[in-house]
């Protein structure tokens, strides 16, 4: 096998649409029509998505080659066969949706320049290429698939219990399409700022600081237990002529649900794994991407591939029930996609074997459990003591944490637990509750500096 190297960004070139220099930013924003960004909410008002996260991920290149809110042609291509108009694979609609009233009130027309405002401050500009109508429910259904149209992997029709489906269903029925440029780069609050490593910088760190030729990505939205740690360590034995040099943990940070661990504990919990030497920092690094998780299992895995290839990873680990909730998809839908393809979603072959597909290499993994006979954390495809297995269960651990019991270190590292307790003391609660949500939804992850825009 030939030695591997950091793959090119998806689409060939990394998108970077951020202007930090005030003069240039002001001149770009001057005279633009102001438009306030709003969260997407459930009928009861609960925020489930904020488009600012997508604007950040697009402009900093996580979603390369996507450069903004999709045109109707791009949207149709993505829904029909997960391809942009340019032919490059892309899984999800990325849309700035707006109500007809808001568009009329601001008198927005194709060709206009908009100044998108976040938390009352200028944030990004966009040149409106197209304004078109969508049927949000149809977009939601086609985004995730149906048992009839996608019989390979869809097991149940999507409904209002699925958080990703609701993100699309609750969108406004007009889309403002056009490329985004950030003109007032937001500042991440502690501790997010320590983990913010956009693709261009991440690639540089991988290449010149960590000096990793190969690197495997680990998707997370959880505080790590030793099952996750075993997955990371063992999946990383893939590589080329030697195991992967690095493990890149990339947490998905976005809308939260009650009972989740706080973002802060997730990031610092993963950091504790390297800080305290369970996987040493020369081999392990923690980062995040802003995205309101859609829980689209195989579809989500494509986005994960795009993000982590753009960040400079050669490999991506995929487990059972990857980015899944409920029983909508086959448990192995992601692994089916990456091992044989899913024709009804536009993949006659795996996404890394189709034209204009991804370059990142999948590492499909089965399960880890504690085996009392082996006396260790065992891999399900190796350990023959199946009837003796003691499964890791995230919710079992959450129960233990809530009762104030420190998990044994064979299940969770004490320093990881301490990261949970540190934020527990800050929020007076170990998990996301109503108060945490109110605070997160009001303040988001960032602050924006005041910015005066000269009138045209």
């Amino acid at each position: 096998m030939a030695k591997l190297n950091i793959p090119p960004p998806h689409g060939g070139e990394l998108v970077y649409r951020v202007i930090g220099k005030k003069d240039y930013a002001e001149s770009m924003a001057a005279g633009a029509i102001e438009f306030d960004l709003k969260p997407t909410t459930l009928p009861d008002g609960t925020p489930i998505r904020h488009v600012y996260r997508e604007i950040m991920s697009v402009c900093y290149g996580f979603f390369s080659p996507v450069e903004g809110s999709m045109t109707s042609t791009d949207l149709e291509g993505v829904l029909k066969e997960r391809r942009l108009e340019s032919g490059w694979v892309f899984p999800y609609p990325i849309l700035l949706d707006a109500s007809e009233e808001d568009i009329k009130a601001a008198d927005i027309k194709e060709g206009d320049r908009l100044l998108l405002k976040l938390k009352g401050e200028p944030f990004a500009v966009m040149d409106v290429e197209e304004i078109y109508k969508i049927n949000p429910e149809e977009v939601a259904v086609r985004t995730f698939g149906t048992p009839e149209d996608n019989p390979e992997v869809v097991r149940e029709p999507f409904n209002e219990k699925h958080p990703g489906y609701m993100i699309y269903k609750m969108m406004n029925d007009h889309v403002i399409a056009g490329k985004w440029t950030i003109v007032n780069p937001p500042k991440f609050r502690e501790p997010y700022d320590r983990f913010w490593l956009p693709p261009a910088e991440c690639r540089t760190v991988i290449k010149y600081v960590k000096k990793w030729r190969t690197c495997i990505a680990h998707q997370t939205r959880n505080v790590p237990h030793t099952g996750h740690e075993a997955l990371m360590k063992n999946a990383a034995y893939t590589g080329d002529i030697e195991p992967c040099h690095g493990i890149l943990v990339n947490a998905i940070i976005g809308a939260k649900r009650r009972g989740d661990y706080p973002n802060e504990a997730i990031l610092e919990g993963h950091e504790a794994v390297n800080k305290y030497g369970y996987i040493k920092p020369s081999r392990h690094m923690v980062t995040f991407t802003l995205w309101d998780m859609r829980y689209g299992n195989p579809i989500e895995s494509l986005l994960h591939g795009v993000i982590r290839q753009n960040m400079g990873c050669t490999h991506h680990m995929f487990g059972r029930d990857h980015a899944a909730v409920g029983e909508y998809y086959d448990k192995y839908a992601t692994q089916i996609l990456w091992s044989e393809g899913i024709p009804s979603f536009g993949f006659e072959a795996p996404p890394n074997e189709v034209e204009k597909g991804l370059k990142i290499i999948p590492q499909n993994m089965a399960e880890f459990w504690y085996c009392p006979v082996c006396g260790e954390i065992a891999y399900s495809e190796s350990c023959g003591h199946v009837d003796k297995k003691q499964k890791f269960s995230g919710s079992f651990l959450r129960g233990m944490v809530a009762e104030g019991v420190m998990p044994p270190k064979v299940v969770m590292r004490p320093e990881v637990y301490k990261a949970i307790v540190k934020w527990w003391k800050v929020f007076n609660y170990p998990f996301v509750n109503k108060k945490y949500l109110e605070n997160l939804n009001a303040n988001l992850e960032v602050d924006l500096a005041p910015m005066e825009i000269p009138k045209a």
Partner: protein, 115 residues
């Protein structure tokens, strides 16, 4: 299908059941690092529990998880009181009281004192 509730035993809980008939039912997991009692819950009763607590769910091991701490405490209290694991009906009788306590839990759970 039968579901389960796992009751973690720390030192002080273990002391309370030591010497009772329950002691021999203690399961030791994760290489002897954790002690646990497992209460069996018939399906109709697990449904009642899922209905009572909006985030409760059955995990991949068949255990009822993401229930309030107050519920777990009540399960343990009934085990001690009755010296038996056949106590789910007694716990369900206390459901309204547990639900009241659970409401407060959404606001605050005291953090453990560790350094």
């Amino acid at each position: 299908m039968v579901h389960y509730i796992g009751v973690i035993l720390d030192e002080s809980r273990y002391e309370q059941i030591k010497g009772t008939p329950i002691e021999e039912k203690v399961q030791s997991i994760f290489g002897g690092t954790l002690k646990m009692l497992v209460v069996e819950v018939p399906e109709d009763k697990s449904e009642q529990i899922l209905k009572a607590f909006d985030r409760a769910r059955i995990d991949s091991r068949g255990f009822i998880e993401d229930v309030p701490v107050a519920f777990r405490r009540a399960v343990f209290e009934e085990i001690v009181k009755n010296k038996s694991l056949d106590i789910i009906d007694k716990v369900l009788e206390r459901l309204p009281e547990i639900q009241e306590l659970a409401k407060k839990e959404d606001e605050y759970i005291p953090p453990p004192e560790i350094e």
